[in-house]
Symmetry: D2
Subunit: 283 residues, 4 copies
């Protein structure tokens, strides 16, 4: 049994000593510790994982004790996780299967410690794939007129299923700010460009027109501003004048699925901390 | 003795057969041939290098014969080069030495078949480096008031020295449209971002603010619109939350010098063809 | 309707002119042409794709005419393909699903023009996946004792199904030289290292022990000598001291599936030519 | 004024708490802290940098106090550095200038906090470059017969100049085990291949023969066994059938200089720890 804590606060002397002493003196054993200080912002970040086997504070009391003894005096914001409890992930998808297969095959093989209670889509195309993997598929036909209503129904479903976070696996709808406020930094998107280049619609068209020599994909948390949320992971691949728009799309799909899956895995492992619209990605 | 011809025209049947037959029937030996058809634009591109040793048309007549017999009937635009004649390159530089050293050390070692008759700068900082390599250094202090006048003097110098093309090795001045019209697709710049992301001033600051996970550099031909000319080469390197603005700049400098030098080398080898603000880069 | 021809022969003057004239004079239209001369070996390679719509030689006669008129006098070795006829690919797999899913999802989405009539395995683990995609799954339990016999049965099945080429998608058995002679340069393997480093068994263990900072994967044609066949494609990813053997394996799997699929796609498109244990990979 | 300490020992509970408490209780301020536990080897590694401005233990006493109070009870091996004191680096070079220029231009621009008191070579070719940068150049003509004697003279020079570490910037001589014992994990080499592939002489020839699609360079500490020392950094670049041996060499040179310089910079910053022939590279 282990615990993970993610912390950030104003930088100040003695934080590491105080936190590690708290773990050590209560007979916890530090399994990994990473800290980062953003000097320009004067901010401290830490991820700490420790063994609970002989820890003297009961699991359900750790948050309260940490808040009282350490977080309050240091002005910390923290999140506490127990890796033994798998997070529950919903997938939103439209018509393309490449990211969906990549996610489901990792889940099926046991590569990820995650549960996938449901898949939501605005098209029926991916239903057969969901069924092959035995995952309930929910169709929500979204139009301009019914968008608010459909999002409300989606949220109800997500809450009923205790969904912790959402993955947009090439979901071709913009979520409203109203929706997003229920999942702050808990909606992961893959954008098919090297952001901030080619934000918005049709990035491969725009990249082709511009004559770039490298294309990319960006995994980020969704925020109210389109394609402007905190970046989790990016990667690129070479293209040349020999490539057409079709081969941009084909090469890009390989990037998209790998970059999205890397981002999801970082989230599942609780290695991501967001501050000031940027991510700290602990190794 | 060899010749290189770069061709482009509307795509039409039989071009390769006609051009290679022209070479072959006149006892030229094709050393390399690359062709590309841009299907969406309906345009044909070709680079051909051949051995002149037994070629039956005199070197100084090749252009005329090719124009009459082939280019005119097919509506081709072509450029003819003789690699034995080294192109003459001017370097424009401001205060940073990394690109300058990279260029000069390649030139000195014989890696490039190019002549460097002069270095132009708006600051005196790089003068000692130019002198170490025995290259004349010309200082042109440029201000808003005297910019037109100084560019005119620079152009006079460039023409007097028969300069074929110009390299902006982190030159911190924008060249005017008036200047550029004398060197169309003959001014090579290095921009310290992955264009079109972060065009304009202070790209590392902007990239740092945005929280990107990869930074890049772009080598391009300069056109009237800032940072929007045809891209020759790009490359990227990973960054993380651990990087500061300083390390963005330091890592970026390694990219800049390598990407710029790759672009220059492609230009020297006559492997670049520009059409519709994009480059064809022959392998 | 199009045709693709792959050619190699001793380098000699006039080949391109002669071949393109053959296409052009018979009213074929060249769609793409790539040629390569290996100067150190004095060898010429070419891939040419042309439109057959108005071609004056009947499809089934092209090979004969080309042999008589061009290949014989120039001493060429050539292969002729008609992209309209999908190649038939067999997949050999053992216990891991990542490459298999990557292949099947591309096939299902129509990304590749290929048929997959069967999957062969020495374990039953992947049978459910094959069934989901509706592909016949054949179990051949292979032991030292029955290997010759099982390979004979596999060959019989492959011939009966008119299999053109075989993909080893992390198949954990070595094919015998006897088997391979029926599929020369038609068995594609993925090796989980950056060959020639870490050939043979347990490459991730060896890479971890050596303390490398980058791991790789290599797609190659299988030949009699283990892991020494012509390399089709390679790629790499960064690792660090933070990685364990487990994360080497996890990161490596992403490389394996992408590199294998790139190699397969090149093969399907007839872009690969093998000579002297090396590949020419036409763009 | 800052201090850096590099520590490794058998993994055991409470190390981080104990060390950070030592810094904190003596009024030091931790600037950065990185720790790593190699679970398979059961070993703990840490790099800690702290501010000495108000530190209560005098700089020259820190080592003694740390040894007595912490290192001894925990069985730690540690190294203590004061970044204000620039390390002294000797460069060994033969006939090629690309790594040498890369190193000297970084040093001259102030990118690295290092002193370069001397350059040693077995050829006179690089003497003019050394002189341009005002660095004493020492020629040691090495033959089979005089190797022991020349190494003895080199060592005498290195000791007289208080050299801390040595960089082999494409130095084409093997240093003897006798020599190396004076600079354990203090001789940095660049090997022009992706080790362990193509160790030994002529790696580009071997890579070309093998038909690889990617070539690499490896920066490592030199040990008694040729090209088998702890790897510091590696990088790769793509090649294709279009590349000749000459272009392998040319592309490789760009890799070599960048990878070597990255390795040197890590060493200068005291970010490298060696254990069991592998490096821990602190971010």
């Amino acid at each position: 049994m282990t615990a993970i804590i993610l912390i950030h606060c104003v930088d100040q002397p003695g934080i590491v000593a105080r936190v590690t002493e708290f773990i050590h003196s209560n007979k916890g054993n530090v399994l990994s510790l990473e800290q980062h200080v953003d000097r320009s912002a004067g901010r401290f970040f830490m991820r700490l994982k420790w063994d609970l086997d002989r820890f003297m504070i009961a699991k359900e009391k750790i948050g309260e004790y940490f808040q009282t003894l350490i977080a309050a005096p240091y002005g910390m914001i923290f999140d506490l996780y127990f890796p033994g409890q798998k997070p529950r992930m919903a997938i939103f998808v439209s018509k393309m299967s490449h990211c969906l297969y990549d996610i489901l095959s990792r889940w099926e093989s046991g590569e990820w410690q995650v549960e996938i209670p449901l898949i939501i889509s605005n098209h029926a195309d991916m239903q057969p794939i969901a069924e092959r993997f035995g995952i309930p598929f929910h169709l929500f036909l979204v139009s301009k007129e019914n968008k608010a209503e459909q999002e409300a129904r989606q949220l109800e479903l997500l809450h009923r299923e205790n969904i912790d976070f959402i993955v947009l696996a090439r979901y071709m709808q913009v979520l409203t700010t109203d929706f997003l406020k229920y999942y702050p930094h808990r909606v992961i998107n893959i954008h098919h460009s090297f952001l901030p280049a080619f934000a918005g619609a049709k990035p491969y068209h725009a990249a082709y027109e511009r004559g770039v020599k490298i294309i990319g994909a960006t995994c980020h948390y969704v925020t109210a501003e389109l394609d402007a949320g905190p970046i989790i992971e990016q990667d690129v691949t070479r293209v040349s004048h020999k490539d057409s728009l079709d081969t941009f799309v084909r090469k890009g799909k390989d990037l998209e699925k790998i970059v999205l899956s890397r981002g999801i895995f970082l989230h599942i492992q609780r290695k991501l901390l967001v501050h000031d619209n940027r991510t700290v990605v602990f190794g």
